[in-house]
């Protein structure tokens, strides 16, 4: 494909890719807002859900928060490296971020396996339905972010498309942000 001239212009002074990521994040805010808003209204309305949420594993959640925060750090460091045109270092840090996403998913799957074995399936009650839906939706975003970063890292290692490092990072920070709110909503509030 020949790259159209349209893709190279930036009238707003902001590269198109980054602009698009901001709009994407805006649209994701309302999607997660829909799930979390619905959850919040039910959660406040049903005090008895506290009993269900007591069975979530706070330590797993806290560890995953740590993992995501750290992967966010490496994403922003990758961006810093990309600014210095250091594609190799950027790629390495992005792979570290992807690793963080991987650890997050592994912890999540161990956690879920335990919960499902204990009988807390998605149909156990509405708390668990929201728990799996919200965390699952977030998990899909983690996977999507990891896949995107693999492509970006592969290009960055060759010193190509370095501006994409920042865009992928922005998206990853957003995924991190969602988890920052999911963690207290699903795990801590008991």
């Amino acid at each position: 494909m020949i790259r159209p001239i349209a893709t190279t212009r930036e009238m707003t002074g902001m590269p198109t890719g980054r602009l698009a990521v901001w709009w994407l994040i805006a649209s994701e805010i309302v999607i997660f807002g829909g799930v979390l808003g619905s959850y919040l209204m039910h959660r406040i309305g049903h005090k008895e859900w506290a009993a269900a949420s007591a069975h979530t594993n706070t330590w797993a959640g806290a560890f995953n928060t740590l993992v995501l925060l750290t992967s966010s750090l490496s994403a922003v460091l990758a961006h810093n490296a990309a600014l210095r045109k250091d594609g190799k270092r950027a790629a390495k840090l992005l792979w570290f971020t992807i690793l963080g996403g991987g650890i997050f998913l592994v912890v999540k799957s161990i956690e879920w396996t335990g919960e499902i074995k204990a009988g807390y399936t998605i149909t156990a009650n509405n708390f668990w339905s929201f728990y799996y839906t919200a965390a699952g939706l977030h998990g899909l975003h983690v996977i999507a972010g990891m896949i995107v970063m693999m492509f970006v890292a592969a290009d960055a290692a060759k010193g190509k498309e370095l501006q994409r490092v920042e865009n992928a990072g922005l998206y990853w920070h957003f995924v991190d942000l969602v988890w920052i709110f999911l963690f207290p909503l699903l795990y801590i509030a008991k």
Partner: protein, 574 residues
Amino acid sequence: MSTAAAHAEHDHAHGHAHHDEGFIKKYLWSTDHKIIAMQYLFTGIFMAFIGGFTVYAFRMQLAFPGMSVPGYGRVTATDYNALVTTHGSVMIFWVAMPVLIAALGNYLIPLMIGCDDMVFPRLNRLSYQLFLLSSIVLIASFYVPGGAFGGAWTSYPPLSAKAEYSLTGLGSSMWLFAVALEFAAFLLGGINFITTVMNSRAPGMKMFDVPIVVWMIIIASILFMASVGPLIAGAVMLLFDQQLGTGFFDPAKGGDPVLWQHLFWFFGHPEVYVVLLPAMGIVAEIITVFSRKKLFAYKTVLYTAIGTGVLSFFVWAHHQFIAGIDPRMANVFSVTTLLISIPVAEMVFVYIGTLYGGSIRLTTPMLWALAFIAEFLLGGVTGIFLGASGADIYFHDTYFVIAHFHYTFFPIAFIGSFAAITYWFPKMFGKMMNETWGKVHFWGTIIPFNAIFIPLFLLGARGDHRRIYDYRHFPDLMKAGMQDLRVFATLALLVLLAFQVVFLVNLFYSIFRGEKASANPWNANTLEWQAPSPPPHGNFPQGLPNVYRGPYEYSHPDRQDDYWPQTEPDAAKS
């Protein structure tokens, strides 16, 4: 990569398309915004056939209950519900949205802002493919056990959530999945539109030099993006309710069916303006060109559009006045609903004001644009009855509502699209459409349209309620004259459907045999008319244009010509 080299490449590819690219690469796998626009347009037209066929089948059943409908067979109660549901969803999500936003947005945005393509051409292709997949899933749902979903386009649970209530377990899920896919397609498309207009306008094109139709599509895309999120979330929850047995909307499991209604209408009402605004934009382009007038108060139009958009987020619960929401909330929503009449009315006043002092040419596109205003007015004022909470108690879920929103949606989805197709046809295909047959089609559509829906207002006022496949069970609804009105509306529908054949013949005949069109047959100002007809890949072979002024400088007193293209430098002032 230099511009010239790129264009040489383009021209080469274009000239030998059949040898170099092949049909699939050129028409099905293309990243060219114009091809993708055509894909959307023709998919939309195809889906309009489905929408038209379903309405034919269920209107026949209403007029002649129990008859075997030619081409369909006997319409059972199950069929009837599936038909009305499909008609509603298809016409809004698979006709109005793809034609007005996706097809016209894709076609017009790069041409009107003077660039060679969208900023994310491959994302654009993906967006269409998702849309195509969603159409296929929807159509396939007719052929699964249990048949297509029949719980109305609003899909209220628990009816939609449980197979034992709806009897269409798989059909419901496929419907929901198709709608969700379609939303994803338009989200991607919307981001593409917004970033393209923000970043890739032609040099010199300031914010207020952007044609109104582009503004409208952008505002609509933002509205869509900001409102659809909760419904996507709701769709996932409803899908889990259907397939996994969760209880998000099941009262017995601590869920709440009213939540879905809110999530749906939080999107559903802005959605009305998502399709209205592009149609309004199309009308602005056409009436200025064919009355040779500057648009009356460009900025007012813009601000009212933004105002409408913002207000549209505050009115959603007027669909639920009697749906079991707290009655005190209805007061708030009744006020906001009536307030939204102000910006919309103002927009119509502005368009009427534009006609003043014009030099009006009643070409086919102009007839459609004027008809839009005339008909939409009736749709607008009848909305007041429904927004006024007291009156809505009686009118809610009657045919009055149906007639009301068809007086808004028909002008939007069909009159607006016909206006756009007839107006931009010379640009799209490089041929002129036949004016005489265009006018025949116009009158053959407008007259039966009114003949269908004015009787429905009367039926609604007399108490006909919606989604009933046979009124013979209701003695009060079989009073003298009522069945006659139903039959009359159905016959008018048949006439309307028959006249669409004229359009199709005209469309395809003109594409292949029409008179050749010049680059700017209407003497219009906007940038797309500076490109050749049809524009080649890359749009502007002379290099991307520069913009010197706003899009509506018609009949400027300093000039001999009654138009002043946006690209013409000031030096050419004579």
